[in-house]
Subunit: 694 residues, 2 copies
């Protein structure tokens, strides 16, 4: 039986106002309290040029249907993937039309804010080709890829292997007779897996496979391999390829798997810029210097660290704006009023909420500035390496590994905390935090698992410490690590001099504290390993702690350096003042959270830790009036945030109801399942009622 | 242009084995190391009766297509909702056929493990009617709801109001002339929001609205209101109702909104068991004793705490089984071998992984047993209240609020940590952890926001402390709180006597430590408020810390009590031994994580904290051989886990590939968007190549 009325009537909300005071009024109050110029801080953080470009591109995207962002809330995976293809195609067209640079496309993707099928073509396929191709291969692969005549991915991870590249199973055996390589997947676990852009999109792949020549295993090497027909996109014979299925996020990209069945590729497939396999003889010619590629990893990681900062900034923007509007309970000690009537207190006025959210704002600025420091240091290091000076590389590489690990973990935790700080509505996708969280999740695992990375960093710290003890380190080549480790070795029993909370507001004191605590951890670990004979595996918990201690120091130092080195032209007095407070909040709140390590090292006393705790709350209170302006200065347009709660204008509840009116279930009066699943029971009841009347 | 080949060929994996050793072999090794009987521990934890029922129901569900669980991975929201309706309908039919009890249905939902459209009918509508209806209403509403002739929900939260019920905006004005109530939504923010089962399913609702009589506001009261036609399911005139749109999880249920436009309901709609509005005069008759309803909240929260334990248990089951199979890197100090060849080390053998995962196993057992203690105490309290003794209620209510807050936060954190401990594959929905996480998220917000709840608990602790100082507490009525607060007051300068790590393995020492630390926090807070004149708002950060300290003590104590009070028949010596180790691990790891508070209170010294840290690692090593068996004892069937990684048999990689073959994108050789979005660029390249040949 079909219902007899017109069922296709969309549900509309009545035209009512939210209960006063309204969002725009409350945000207006907040913004009037700013002690600094929002635009000036934005310019300091991003640079004027970047902000101009961003605004220009934003206007283009907002006018293009291919970049519309609301529909994604309501679509299933297939529809979202199709829309992502459309966006990729339109991006290529606009790039060609408007002559977009790489940085322009970075801004496009930042604003559009969703992985898409071509992503790995840009982020891994092209850069790998650029770095690893010889001249012939540049023409054959790279230049065609630049024109999108071939679409590629980077196939390294396998079903059974992620972090340990040396354990990869896929083989590439050199066949001298035909001057080919035979790529093969010997086990089910050898299947390439998780490879973005591979599942349904790519027709080429850079494949990492163990190079086998005359029975000898030379370990994993990159091959550029055609995998699908350029005519009709069918997988080539010998290749099994497909999508790995639904994920927690990232469902707008086709992460794929691929298996090879004795698949032959020509000699030219072996990427030969650094390493060669001589045709015919199969002679293996080693690379000259592998260290150069570590430099690139630093840059990749600086990008990830910057992304972590933006994730925190975005979460804080949504949560702080909404917290200024959302009201719960009346604070009886200090009731808030609106037009002479007591109103419920905006949740931003509760100290617990301020403590949670302002520390995240501080984290965001800290991480963004640290990524900029990292990029600057990368530039210096590249210059030095060109001159043959590799002395900065190890320190930079170690810090960048650890910072990737620490800041991505911080970002996820902070983003989720922001979501919860939005109360129930944080759980709605209309908060704009749902996809952001889901799509950010893999960052704690990929580009180096966060736990595995800590081992790299700590190994370097231990090595440096041992070398300092042995007097082997050239003290001319000072860097952050040698500096704080030397200071500790010179004075291992130093203690914190602060006798009041205000004395903690001192960069030197703070850096000494973080340096001492990191060095103490390193020293303890060296003792465990070298004197107490413990195995590496048995101390892994401390290895991770030491890495974190080091990286927190790097973050704190970067923040202070960034402010100190800014010219008066770049950073006005009021902007400098608020950043200084944020840097203190970042440093002291970080110290407070891990205060046990500062206490156990003997550097801080219990009494001092109480002063510290109070000082953090004082800083929060000091920064509180700038809360909304500090997130405004992150300069995220509403298009980017795609959030009903985080809108710049504060019309939160109107936005929520507008989104809800678009929900597909609300386009019909009676839900599809009614006849089959609900009606039988309800009508049984009506029947019973009628029967009892008889 | 259409591709000319048959595109509808599903992708199949080649028939290959994973690289040896295989999952089943590795799990077999793990299981052979168990020091205790897995079934015996399961029986102790759940009771034999429950396990039997679970097995019986499991067999039924596995045979019913309506309860199939794989398809959900691949479905969009609409399909998943329809399938959920089907499941609800079949559950009702099977309940009627097989005479399922409430506990049977609890098991059904536990195993099926997904919210469904009728959920709130059972969890809120029926219980509210049962508790709040007078005899006439029981017949009119409750009995019909039991037969599913009416389907209801519980409409309390509003767009602008969650935690603060007193701030609700919806009004119900008594109209003496017609003996009706007029329900009305004055603002946009008055819209009911988040109401499960309301969006598209319910035809009735219990609506919380401010009772207005003769211009006087009596605050929120419950009304049972028809909202949709029983004939054709259309919303009744005066009601705007619909679904609130997509959420982070919970998308298989229709959380809804509802607005009333001067909507009239008859006098009988006012739920009148405790409170009455006299017909005609509108005289308001107050409830006799509201405290009785706090008892029910304790039971609800005990259920939530139990659920938190199961969430932790499930995460640990998946992560530990998979960690025994997944191998990464060779541990050079102690290489693992298989058939005389060195293999990569299973990640469970890395101490960092053990530390992460075994502490979660300990948390899981701690929380499950604490929920059982809470339920037992609820029973005792109900008996006492019936006798007019309300002396247990406040303590029980305070602890249950705090435990809800603490354990749901622990559960989410632990579940996410388990997901990350699975490496890359943890991000696949086939890990079985994705939906689990998404659907569990709201627990930190609903049934009392976790931050707001801490205030309830801490308020009680402060009141008790002040009352003890004033000598007002009847020391005959001892409970946990008065005991540890009194001990502290008697001896506020006591310190920890341990001089070796092993001395921490002592329940009395541990309980003293947790009691001291909690009491110290309470004392400090009382001083801040009562002596230093600080406002409640200014100390909220410490309020939350104090609540956590109290609840950790409750958890630790419950664990020890549960073991100590178990008879030898219920708990054999080996099972007792392993539980004892877990209880120590739980207590000491919890202490270690918050060791700063133990240090600052002066109870623990820095040297002792080092002993503690080492003791935790020793406990982890002690428990390690039982890792897989301890999660086996949680007794989760594969049907429940729905996880490729957590399967009992260990065939992880085969399961991953089987799931992947079901992915809709893999049913076609060439992806749908190819012609439109990929081909133009690739064929432009072919054209260029042909042109250059000319």
């Amino acid at each position: 039986m079909v219902t007899s009325f017109n069922n296709n009537v969309p549900t509309k909300f009545p035209k009512l106002q939210p209960k006063a005071p309204n969002g725009p009024d409350l945000l207006q109050i907040e913004r009037s309290k700013a002690s600094f110029d929002v635009d000036a801080l934005s310019k300091f953080t991003y640079g004027e040029e970047f902000l101009k470009r961003k605004d220009k591109i934003l206007k283009i995207l907002e006018a293009e249907p291919a970049f519309e962002k609301t529909q994604r809330f309501f679509q299933g995976r297939h529809e979202r993937l199709m829309h992502a293809y459309e966006k990729d195609k339109r991006t290529i067209e606009l790039s060609e039309e408007l002559g977009w640079t790489d940085e322009d496309r970075y801004i496009v993707n930042l604003l559009y804010d969703q992985p898409s099928p071509y992503s790995l073509h840009y982020t891994m396929f092209l850069p790998t080709l650029k770095n690893q191709c010889n001249d012939e291969q540049i023409k054959l692969f790279y230049e065609r890829a630049l024109r999108h005549e071939i679409i590629g991915c980077y196939a390294q991870t396998e079903l059974g292997h992620g972090s340990n590249i040396q354990g990869l199973e896929t083989t590439a055996t050199y066949i001298p007779e035909t001057n080919e390589f035979e790529i093969h997947s010997p086990h089910l676990t050898s299947s390439k897996w998780w490879i973005g852009t591979l599942g349904k999109t790519a027709n080429y792949a850079v494949v990492m496979a163990r190079l086998m020549i005359h029975g000898k295993d030379y370990g994993p090497h990159p091959f550029c391999v055609q995998i699908r027909s350029l005519e009709d996109h069918r997988p080539l014979p010998g290749i099994t390829v497909g999508d790995i299925g639904p994920k927690f996020g990232y469902n707008t990209i086709d992460n794929g798997f691929m298996m090879f069945n004795h698949y032959r590729v020509p000699h030219i497939a072996f990427l030969a810029k650094f390493t060669q396999v001589k045709p015919g003889t199969g002679e293996y010619v080693k690379p000259v210097n592998a260290r150069l590629s570590y430099g690139t990893m630093v840059l990749t990681r600086a990008g990830i660290v910057n992304g972590s900062g933006l994730v925190l900034a975005r979460g804080a923007t949504v949560a702080i704006r909404y917290s200024a509007i959302r009201r719960q309970f009346v604070d009886l000690d200090e009731p808030r009023k609106w037009r002479n009537e007591i109103i419920e207190t905006p949740v931003i006025d509760y100290t617990q909420q301020q403590y949670r959210l302002l520390s995240i704002v501080a984290n965001a600025y800290a991480v963004i500035y640290a990524s900029q420091e990292l990029r600057d240091q990368y530039e210096v290091n590249q210059e030095q390496m060109q001159k043959g000076n590799f002395s900065f590389l190890a320190d930079l590489h170690a810090s960048s590994s650890g910072l990737k690990s620490l800041t991505t973990t911080m970002a996820l935790e902070g983003l989720e905390d922001c979501r919860r700080a939005c109360g129930g509505h944080g759980f709605s996708l209309f908060s704009g935090l749902g996809f952001a969280y889901q799509d950010y999740l893999p960052f704690v695992t990929f580009e180096g698992d966060n736990y595995v990375l800590t081992q790299q960093t700590t190994r370097y710290l231990l090595k440096t410490f041992r070398s300092l003890i042995a007097g082997k380190t050239n003290t001319e080549q000072k860097n952050l690590t040698t500096t704080y480790l030397s200071q500790y070795l010179q004075n291992p029993n130093t203690t914190c001099p602060a006798i009041s909370g205000a004395e903690f507001l001192n960069p030197e004191l703070i850096l000494t504290a973080f340096g001492y605590r990191a060095a103490y951890g390193v020293a303890q670990l060296v003792e465990e390993l070298d004197q107490n004979g413990r195995s590496w595996n048995s101390v892994l918990v401390d290895v991770a702690r030491v890495c974190k201690a080091h990286c927190q120091l790097v973050l704190v130092q970067s923040f202070f350096v960034r402010i100190q080195q800014a010219s008066e032209k770049d950073l006005g007095p009021e902007e400098r003042k608020v950043l200084q407070s944020l840097a203190y909040l970042f440093a002291l709140h970080t110290m407070e959270k891990d205060v046990a390590e500062f206490l156990v090292s003997g550097y801080l006393s219990a009494a001092q830790s109480k002063l510290l705790k109070r000082q953090v709350l004082d800083l929060v209170a000091l920064i509180r009036p700038n809360a909304v302006s500090l997130v405004d200065a992150f300069s995220f347009p509403d298009y980017f945030l795609a959030s009903a709660l985080g809108r710049y204008d504060g019309n939160v509840y109107e936005a929520m109801t507008e989104y809800v009116e678009k929900e597909p279930l609300n386009q019909k009066v009676v839900v599809d399942g009614y006849e089959k699943y609900i009606k039988p029971f309800v009508h049984r009841g009506l029947q019973r009622k009628n029967d009892s009347k008889l």
